[in-house]
Amino acid sequence: MSNLTNTDKIELYRKLVHTRKHDELNVRMASEGKLRTFYHSAQGHEAIGVGACSVLHKDDYLYPHLRGHGIPYVVGKGMDPKPSVSEHLGKATGWGGGITGVHIVDKENGIFAQGGTIGSAFVLSAGFALAAKKNGTGQVCMCFVGDGSVQRGQAHEAMNLASCWKLPVVWVVENNLMAWFTPCCDSFALKNIADMAKSYNMPGKVIDGMDVFAVREAAEEAVDLARKGDGPSMLECKTYRFRPHSEGRPDVCHYLPRSEEEIAEWKKRDPLVLCQKKLVKEKILTKNLIDEIELEADEKAKETEKFALESPYPDPSILNTLVYAP
């Protein structure tokens, strides 16, 4: 981290803001009943995707977690989040062509698939990492999952296989202390998920998932290991989701409302606020620059909305041609 220039730091802040604004756009459109599918807000999680993806090369493989349906990751990797709303409206310009209303794919930028069953990320990403290793060009695969995903068998099998074969993959666990309505304390017997890495004889680290710089630094280290051929690692980024599991759904723990205090407590460590404070303190961010970035992000979000609304739906006659590749 020490080697981040001021520009790098501002860039991370900028990405956080863009992520948040695009997420807010989706949240608003969901509340207006405009989205055609569910939306899982990334608010609270931004620093993870943004920080970790910012160390990736264009040709590195990326498997996003469901939060923000890709936004933090693509923004982190320097891609355009514009196709996000289009996808949610089922438009042809969506990043999955509007076919599912959810999934993201971008071959040029290393995003090859996304699945709707939690945990698949683990095994598919092992496959991307296997390809990376076979390619022999120093590519890595970065795969984002939730704490819940780690409870699935896929996690175990993929981590074991990847470690045995020294596959270049970094698993970033976004531990928001909860999967759907079930808290981690009731669905893990151990405290830190990162400790599970020991079962696979690979590095596992607990990171402050609200601190974009901490995430970036840890990601850089893990990616370096992978690129060098030293195999997989796991980063457990502790975070919190500021909104309900998905928009319009109850916000409960088991069946009782989540604690207001807990939410308020975590919001004090909002990743955007933390980053801004730090950079202001370091005199890297000025009030002007903050406003400028905010404005730019608002503009960008507006553009995204307009683009989505004006985009055409896919031509239904293509559906038949999509079942099998030519």
């Binding site: 069953t117 009731d186 739906y313 559906l319």
Partner: protein, 320 residues
Amino acid sequence: MKEINYWQAIAEALAEEMERDETVFIIGENVQEAPFMATRELIQRFGPERVMDAPLSELAIAGATVGAACAGYRPVCDLNFADFIYCAADEILLKAAQQNFAHAGKVNAPCVFLGVAGGGFGTGPEHSHVPSAMVLNNPGLKLVLPSTPYDAKGLMKTAIRDNNPVCYFFHKKLMGLKQEIPEDEYLIPLGQADIKREGTDVTVVATLYMVHHALEAAKQLEGKISVEVIDPRSLEPLDMDTIIESIKKTNRVVVVDEDTQRCGVAAEIGQQIMELAFDYLDAPVARVCSANMPVAGAEMEKYCIPQVEQVVAAIQSVCY
């Protein structure tokens, strides 16, 4: 009589059976909030020992269901989306299904696998399927597909009391459907079709939400074609007698099913009709099913799953 909706009917059945039989419990992800049954009644009444929020672990949840069932309990395993049956296929389609058979009937596995099924909300390929054929292709499982609150309640109670594993798929689009049902306890036997509408020109066989498509089609054709709508309510056991009786009268039949067409329920029923009533058929059995593709999401969904117009067209095509 009292008015009740579809999810309330399911919740009521669960509550009554849990009250009646201590061995009944619910297990699954977030079943305390019961996301798809939108009820907190069960957890409040029966507590976390009998309404068990499990980790996000379909293999363990389904496997533990089978184990506990073998050992004398009657677990109701909530899969969330019925599609997630793929995430525990070995446990459900092999272990649960084959327990009794593979052990010479010495130990059986009475349990219910609950899942919300079907399209209508554009939820995309892994959240919109009605995986009926997969269940039927693996004998040992029963399959219940309720189309009304009355059926949902009566069939759930029977499913829980059945000594076999039962897949019970309920439909997203029916959640709010209301109906008057008896105040008193009632059960509906599995394998007893219900004639949802009488008619003389053509027989339409349908389950779940497709029953409502069939009824709507029948209404649109009123005065022109007299449509009989048969809802088998369970596909294993399957009441072919009622279907064949109807065909002897109408000589024409359309099967409407929301599972994928290929190797689906409609092909099986069509083939059975051919085997049992070939000489009564004035036209080939027509089928209206989900297209041979994954179920697309959002705007594209409607091109993948059966629409009322298709049912109308199929009825017209066999009534040439």
